[in-house]
């Protein structure tokens, strides 16, 4: 049974999140900085009346921060009661992926990704990485 996944790009790589964990996608025009928050937190954004923190995935993944572009998107994911936006370079596609398409990430990817990548899948010619959303947004303290 293949399910829908949201495909997005950060740096030179493609990542996916299951569509059922994604609440919505928004264009990004900046967030309210929160002094004292971790450096990978862009700030707060108000999306349809809800205030959500936004994590800059470039910074989270150790890439240099980049200016906001027209392609920048915020993918709002849900984890339990938490709603967190992920700032990505681009998010345009939805693809279908079956569970058997996923494999454990190759060692080199796993090491570099600091555990943020749960598994990888081959989608056509592209290699896409399934993100560990919970790990990216950090566990509740």
């Amino acid at each position: 049974m293949s399910t829908l996944h949201i495909l997005f790009r950060v740096g030179e790589a493609d990542y996916v999140l299951p569509a059922q964990d994604v609440e919505q996608m928004e264009s990004f025009s900046g967030a309210t900085r929160v002094p004292g928050a971790p450096p990978y937190v862009s700030g707060l954004m108000q999306i349809r009346g809800k205030v959500v923190p936004v994590v800059d995935l470039r910074v989270r993944f150790g890439l240099p921060a980049q200016d906001i572009s027209l392609d920048s998107r915020v993918v709002v994911g849900r984890h339990g009661d938490r709603r967190v936006g992920l700032l990505v370079d681009r998010a345009r596609e939805v693809i279908k992926l079956a569970p058997d398409q996923f494999r454990a990430p190759p060692d080199v990817v796993a090491a570099q990704a600091q555990g943020f990548v749960r598994s990888v899948a081959q989608a056509g010619e592209r290699l896409v990485m399934l993100i560990d959303f919970e790990k990216v947004i950090g566990r509740e303290v």
């Binding site: 900085r33 929160v34 002094p35 004292g36 928050a37 707060l44 108000q46 205030v51 923190p53 994590v55």
Partner: protein, 671 residues
């Protein structure tokens, strides 16, 4: 606190009934005393006055709620008792009997009102008997107050008589106009406060809610005309009520008033089991409770530290856990005291709909079911204008004219349904439905110059665009649009809720508001700091000062052991005191961008004062604080976020955290 218009009649129906019951109970007590006095043929000035006061208050309350029969009966009783008081407080047994009958008649009518049944008219013979009772000295007719047309028709016989009586006593009749606006709400001026304040210096004869065009100044589309009797000057009235002097217009009376002193009423009222409390006091209690919660965390931390050092803290921990429970209970008790039943909020809906039906000439029926849910007073106050907008739109625009409805096979009478349900433990769902024409997507799209929306959500997006509402002729045909941006603003921006729409051509439209049961509202100062806007509770700021270059000195500070520059501590001289001056932008890792002379907020934490430098002040306003729940953004010094109306979150800073001793030293080095 804040408020809206038109709220008071229905809003206080339950409160009114409770209060009325107490006045009746007191009346019974006075009657018993009068009865005993009458049996021995002695005068009883005290119970006469008590009964007079009870009836006088009941009359005032009833006229606000609009129960005319109660007003008429209490008015005649009041006149009779006033006469009895002047003649020394002696009443014959027959008159006491008559007053008992009148109190029973009041009781019957109030019970009818409580049960939602129609209230029977005041019996003519009872009114006549009261008017002609032996002790009554009728004062009517000495003078006549001339009313403008708009008001004349709205005052009942008893109110006209009351005015005449007042004028003949030498009091001035004055008309006061008040339009609730966001600006007046921000100053804490609302119909309740105006009424209560005026009541201290004048006798309120009538409060009339009037509908007026919706403007930015009057998003509720409601204003109030009050008629009162007073001996005070307009200037004094303006001062007491906090309204402009121009809001007061003297109503001329036809005859030179006779000079007769008014009855002195100086005795203390008895205590009641029903208390009306200003919301700001409840807010205050809640805020203090917040402080207690923080203290509890600190206690728990201190205990953990002791335990880590090997101290036996079992007893302490037991006390702490009990303390935690108490704080939790206290919190829910305070929260409960702020709750009002939704049904009370919705009690005025049928009245509003009836008024709209009259003004549009469309037959409409309102079906209201508020359920048993309760919500925070401040939420109720904010959601009410949105509700009024939705009702007005439904009657004005959504419901077709009767003939059209009949042609479409619908009942001639339109139906507006208002429902309220709890949604989980923290949200309410309030819906307003009509069985009208539904929204014409094509017309809306055409008018907005946009593609035709495919879903109801897209349509909602379109009709809540500001500006669309101004084209009102087109609105009539498209069905909706008036003030929808305001409704959205209330639901989404002010309350952090949601607005939903479902509409079907020919069948009708439903708007649903999902709103939180409670919110925290604070009076806040907003300011710019390092290119960002922040707000902070006004209570945390002692003063705001301009920082003149000459008022700043650097104190000598020894260089650090590592040869660092020793962080010269800057001090601000203020009223003979030197305060540490800390740059807030630096603290927050932002780049200062002052415009003109920088300002400093004087903040106090325990016994230490500290001046926090900011770029510039913006203003003062009430804001709704939303807690920042996510651990990613839970940082000390940031207590929540708010929306100043631009759709962008603005951080609420707890400046005390930055002025805290222990942090100050390090922070000073940063500047």
């Amino acid at each position: 606190m804040t408020t809206l218009g038109g709220f008071d009649e229905g809003e206080f129906l339950a409160g009114f009934l409770a209060e009325a019951e107490e006045h009746l109970a007191r009346a019974q007590k006075s009657l018993t005393a009068l009865d005993s006095a009458a049996r021995v043929g002695s005068a009883a000035p005290k119970p006469v006055r008590e009964l007079f006061r009870a009836m006088h208050t009941l009359k005032g309350l009833s006229s606000m709620v609009g129960v005319e029969p109660v007003v008429e009966i209490t008015h005649e009783m009041e006149t009779l008792l006033r006469g009895a008081d002047r003649s020394g407080g002696a009443l014959g047994g027959a008159t006491v009997q008559l007053l008992s009958t009148a109190v029973r008649a009041l009781d019957v009518r109030l019970k009818q009102l409580a049960a939602g049944k129609p209230v029977t008219a005041a019996p003519r013979e009872l009114l006549a008997a009261l008017a002609h009772a032996p002790s009554a000295t009728t004062q009517h007719g000495g003078a006549q107050v001339l009313l403008p047309e708009a008001l004349a028709g709205k005052l009942g016989q008893s109110e006209l008589a009351q005015l005449a009586l007042g004028a003949s006593r030498g009091e001035r009749a004055v008309r006061v106009d008040f339009t609730p606006s966001p600006e007046s709400a921000a100053r804490g001026v609302n119909i309740t406060s105006v009424r209560e304040r005026l009541a201290t210096v004048a006798e309120l004869v009538k409060v009339l809610p009037l509908s007026r065009p919706v403007t930015a100044d009057s998003p509720g589309g409601l204003s109030f005309a009050m008629v009162l009797l007073t001996r005070e000057s307009d200037a004094r009235l303006a001062e007491v009520s906090q309204l402009e002097a121009s809001a007061f217009v003297a109503l001329p009376s036809r005859e030179a008033p006779a000079s007769e002193p008014a009855v002195e009423e100086v005795e203390e009222p008895e205590s009641r089991s029903y208390v009306r409390v200003e919301v700001s006091r409840l807010d205050d209690a809640l805020e203090r409770l917040g402080g207690l919660v923080v203290l509890r965390f600190r206690l728990a931390r201190a205990a953990a530290d002791l335990e880590a050092r090997g101290v036996d803290v079992r007893e302490l921990k037991a006390v702490l856990s009990e303390h935690s429970r108490s704080v939790r209970d206290l919190r829910s008790a305070v929260m409960r005291s702020r709750l009002v039943p939704v049904s009370e909020v919705l009690a005025r809906v049928p009245l509003i709909v009836r008024g709209l039906a009259q003004s549009t000439g469309k037959p409409v029926r309102a079906d209201v079911d508020g359920g048993s849910a309760e919500l925070d007073k401040s939420v109720a106050e904010r959601v009410f204008p949105a509700l009024v907008h939705l009702l007005r739109n439904a009657v004005d625009h959504a419901l077709e004219p009767a003939a059209e409805r009949v042609a479409a096979g619908k009942p001639q009478e339109g139906l507006i349904t208002v429902r309220c349900e709890s949604r989980g433990s923290s949200q309410l769902e309030l819906s307003v439905s009509d069985d009208g024409a539904g929204i014409d997507r094509e017309r809306v799209a055409q008018r907005a110059g946009r593609p035709v929306p495919k879903t109801d959500a897209e349509l909602l997006e379109l009709i809540t665009r500001p500006g669309l509402s101004t084209l009102d002729t087109a609105t009539r045909t498209s069905g909706r649009g008036m003030g929808m941006d305001i409704v959205r603003k209330v639901a989404v921006e002010q309350l952090g809720g949601e607005l939903l729409l479902s509409t079907e051509r020919g069948k009708g439209t439903t708007f649903t508001l999902r709103i939180p049961l409670s919110i925290t509202i604070i009076d806040a100062l907003s300011f710019r700091c390092g290119g960002q806007t922040f707000v902070t509770p006004i209570g945390a700021v002692e003063d705001v000062v301009e920082v003149e270059p000459g008022a700043v000195t650097s104190s000598p500070s020894p260089p650090g052991a590592d040869g660092s520059r020793g962080g010269a501590v800057r001090l601000l001289r203020r009223r003979g005191e030197a305060l540490p001056l800390v740059s807030l932008p630096h603290l927050l890792n932002l780049t200062p961008a002052p415009q003109g002379l920088p300002k400093a907020l004087i903040v106090r934490k325990s016994h230490q004062r500290c001046a926090l430098l900011v770029d510039r002040m913006i203003g003062r306003q009430e804001v709704v604080v939303r807690p920042i729940g996510d651990p990613l953004v839970t940082v000390p010094g940031v207590s929540g976020s708010t929306d100043l109306g631009d759709g962008v979150p603005t951080l609420v800073l707890d400046l005390g955290a930055y002025a805290a001793p222990g942090r100050t030293r390090k922070e000073l080095e940063l500047t």
